[in-house]
Amino acid sequence: MSMSGKIREFLEVHGKPSREVYYDLENSGFVPQEVVEAMIPYFNRVGYGHPSITHRVGWEALEVIYETKELVAKTIGGVDPEEIVFTHSGTEANNLAILGYLLKNRGRGGRVVLSAIEHLSTIFPAQFASELLGFKVQLIPVDRNGLVDPELLKMYIDKDTVLVSIQAVNHEIGTIQRLKELIDVVKDMNPDAVFHTDAADGYGWIPIDVRRLGVDMMTISSHKIHGPRGVGVLYVKRDVELEPPIRGQLSVEKIWPGVENTPLIAGFKKAVEITFRDFDYRVSYVERLRDKLINGLVEKIPSVIVNGPWDEHVRYRVANNANLSFLYIEGEAVTVELSLNGIYVSSGSACTSRVLEPSHVLLAIGRKHEEAHGSILFKLSHYHREEDIDYTLDVTPKAVERLRSISSLKPS
């Protein structure tokens, strides 16, 4: 049987649950109707041309691309729209930042410093560049909450440091880093070191002013704010020079070849407008749902651990992140069991797709392998309703109980 045939058969057995709640916003998400509607004209009515070609349909594409650049520039502290570079994903933006900067500085040697819990789209290109271009990569340990200690960071920065990359918000455990303090440490120790932050999970959730913070490069991802997949942004401060790590015909962007995907950029623009419409209200609304979900799960299910900042450290946790380890069961089993009930989550037991290894983020904050394997990530947004949380709090304890009853893992 073909692969698609096997998947079709599996989906038929799974069935379509009568009620669905989607929490897997880490990996992908649904695109709201108003965002879809903003994209539709650009497929065949306006702006479907190449944005660098001198005709009306090309100029229409260029117009919406620049409108989006101007909007994004405004939301991160009023930077120059020319400092906003479109890529086709957050992964590409991180690759452009790391590889682009190291390629430009090849032959110079030196060190690249990352936190131990960075996204793999930051760690892997840094390691790749170290092998290829002769840089040394160092990872800084984090504490139990995932925070980088500024005092510890000081010990990694010297005149040989060329690039530092630390996330604004961690993608798995939701830790909000003390970015200003960390950047101040780096710039005090070495004003020439460039600071990149992957803000894919921070943009739209915490206020970000790149100039006030002193950020040199910053990554944003469209799908993390309910925009369409396929749009990433790299903010590159004017005086930071990058060399394109991929080659091809240039379009609007001079450091990332390929034609910009105008319809998706138009959708991303709408998602940004929605995200920043009632910023404070939206964040506090989601925070309330998050607290209800975490407190409810901890209360109803025995042997549960909250991963990431919580209790007295909750101020360091982003509003939309709920990551919990259900002990004595596999996270993958929980995702399937919940899926059968229409609740879609992801498990921290996989660091890469289809690899059953515990996540480096959970190991780095000191979680045991079995705790990491049982972790489940719920990511919330303003599209969730109180009833979704109630439904989740009703279904999840039963799912966990059933899986524990058949699990070979037992409390020692």
Binding site: I123, V137, Q138, L139, P141, H360, R367
Partner: protein, 78 residues
Amino acid sequence: MDLRNIPSTCTSHPVVVLSNKLSEISRRNVDEIRIYINLDDIPINAMEFFLSRYNYYIKELKNIDGKSVFIIARRGTE
């Protein structure tokens, strides 16, 4: 704990392994730990700082080959 030949993959980098093991060791109240580590992976002052988070201090430090060190860390009295 020998962290000198750990490959850098998505789950096993010397610093990730060190963080994970230290957390486990401190939970078990182990009195003394012996660590081999490459100086390129973690500077000594950072190692000292990081150990102190788990209430350990460096009792003995031996340079092995200019690139790596052997550390004996003991649990503090706190």
